[in-house]
Symmetry: C2
Subunit: 326 residues, 2 copies
């Protein structure tokens, strides 16, 4: 029921995913009459793999997490998470209020043993491939210990995605030991002593895009600013190039060559909007799609949830945490 | 004497500036014999407008600010700032250790009345023109009051650069009131009540590049990460497009059209490296060039100092602070 456009895009994405993935079963949680109306185009065969679970309340996009937690026992977000907790669903996908989703996820699903606060992670494109950046906004203020946990979780997630001995770095404003705030400096000391982790030190903002690490760790304030400013910059560059390419015949030819690449790059640079971001560290799978995600973005988020189900990500994390946490 | 390349690039930039600006007088501060060697190519006429002041010590790029402050009374950085303090120079330009330059600037020049901590500011390109982003790394941890001071200083600087009623925003991870860390939320409350300031609320990372504000305020950790990740992303996009344009005849034609724009955009997106960043809030002008700045970047930093001298920036700031600070 959440997100900037309510259930409309979510239902459309659900319909598309059901038809693309015959083994998929989906449960929509929300106001049944509203959802039924939006489902009118669905074939009977696909409709059989979709159920609706009623939830009478909706968490607003600017509602305080504490309000969603205490004041709305029957919100669609909460009911969806309870389905995961009770084994009635393998994963929860939401485009709703990030802070509320995190608070409710922690309360309903609980964190894995050894994890204080779950983190939000997404893959960011670099000159060398991708890096897993976390946290992306779920945890605004972080202790050094939180950052260490993010490092461990990011490392395990990167391994699950096929990276061998992922290089883990702390995002900082310099690479020398004396640089950074207290949390980052202390986290560096802790990570240097962490067993079984390929910690490679500090990485700066430009180093991230040069591909100096496979996992880049920061607090949620910094990660969110980095992610959104990157989106904004990619859009600005595309807009400037587009304008340039409207100049003359030659420019239009150049534009025809460059535009598809730029569009792909833009999508790549807005992972939360386009591909979904994962909550790591919970006893269950939760994928957050951007509040303003389009149908395709929501489809990607559902697909990401499917991959994490196949990879058994929470169980993998659980298995590795005891070895890795200092 | 500082910067990643020592005095070589600085001397070359000085020579270029002297020949380009006949009214300019420059003082190089450092080890005289080393500097004299590098000046061998200078004409006698230009040499007459350049003097060397001896300083026996050099602040290292990874030295702690406290060390530079207490342990090196005769560093080139400190002596240069003392020339400004004593009225023997109108501005100090350095490519050295940022933290040390800030600590020494505060100690030697003192802050303007009402300013707790000076900030580092540079102009960032946006879809609508430019915005002044501060702080860029001089202040890693900031209180709400620090952020308010940055807002006031950024507003005055933008006005000095010709922006009428500059729109001032706080960088945040959402635009709703409940978003952000404690400092940002408290700063918002203070700014809403600040007289004579055109405070427009929160701006997100993407909003910055959409041009939603003329002045964007954040702590130095966040600002530095944003600045450097933007540099890195612009480089990555340029590299990808360059690769694409090497494909065939048509692509190479397109590349010839697109490349000059991309190069200009890259330079634009690395203001600290290319144009110099200013310290605001001091009783004197200090311009910081990037440690790895090339000759052209250092020339721009010297030119930026010239503009600030012409605009009388510290005096302008001083005059406006009493009216603007809450």
């Amino acid at each position: 029921m959440g997100g900037d456009f309510g259930p409309r895009n979510i239902v459309q994405a659900s319909i598309a995913c059901l038809s693309a993935t015959p083994s998929l079963h989906l449960t929509l949680v929300g106001q049944p009459s509203l959802l039924e109306d939006l489902l009118s185009g669905l074939s009977a065969a696909d409709r059989a793999r979709l159920q609706i679970v009623a939830a009478s309340e909706v968490v607003g996009m600017d509602e305080k997490p504490s309000q969603a937690l205490r004041g709305k026992p029957d919100s669609s977000m909460r009911v969806a998470l309870e389905l995961v907790r009770d084994g009635k669903a393998h994963a929860c996908v939401s485009a709703g209020n990030t802070g509320a989703l995190m608070a409710l996820s922690r309360f309903v699903l609980k964190t894995l043993p050894g994890i204080d606060r779950p983190a939000m992670v997404a893959a960011i494109p670099t000159q060398a491939g991708y890096c897993q950046l976390l946290d992306l906004g779920a945890n605004v203020d972080c202790t050094a210990q939180n950052l260490v946990e993010f490092a461990v979780m990011g490392s395990v997630a990167a391994q699950a995605l096929g990276v061998n001995r992922p290089r883990v770095a702390l995002l900082n404003i310099g690479t020398e030991d004396i640089k950074g705030n207290q949390q980052v400096k202390l986290a560096a000391t802790l990570l240097q002593n962490a067993r079984g982790l390929n910690y490679v030190g500090f990485v700066e903002g430009d180093g991230l895009y040069r591909g100096e690490a496979d996992v880049v760790v920061c607090d949620g304030f910094v990660g969110n600013i980095l992610l959104k400013s990157s989106e904004g910059l990619a859009l600005m560059i595309a807009a400037r190039i587009e304008k340039l390419f409207k100049g003359g015949v030659m420019s239009r030819l150049a534009g025809a060559v460059a535009m598809p690449l730029l569009k792909r790059l833009q999508a790549d640079l807005a992972p939360a909007r386009h591909n979904g971001a994962s909550f790591l560290g919970l006893q269950g799978i939760v994928v957050k799609s951007h509040g303003s995600a389009g149908v395709q973005g929501l489809q990607s988020a559902i697909q990401r949830a499917l991959i994490e189900i196949q990879e058994n990500l929470p169980q993998r994390l659980h298995g590795r945490l005891e070895d890795l946490l200092p």
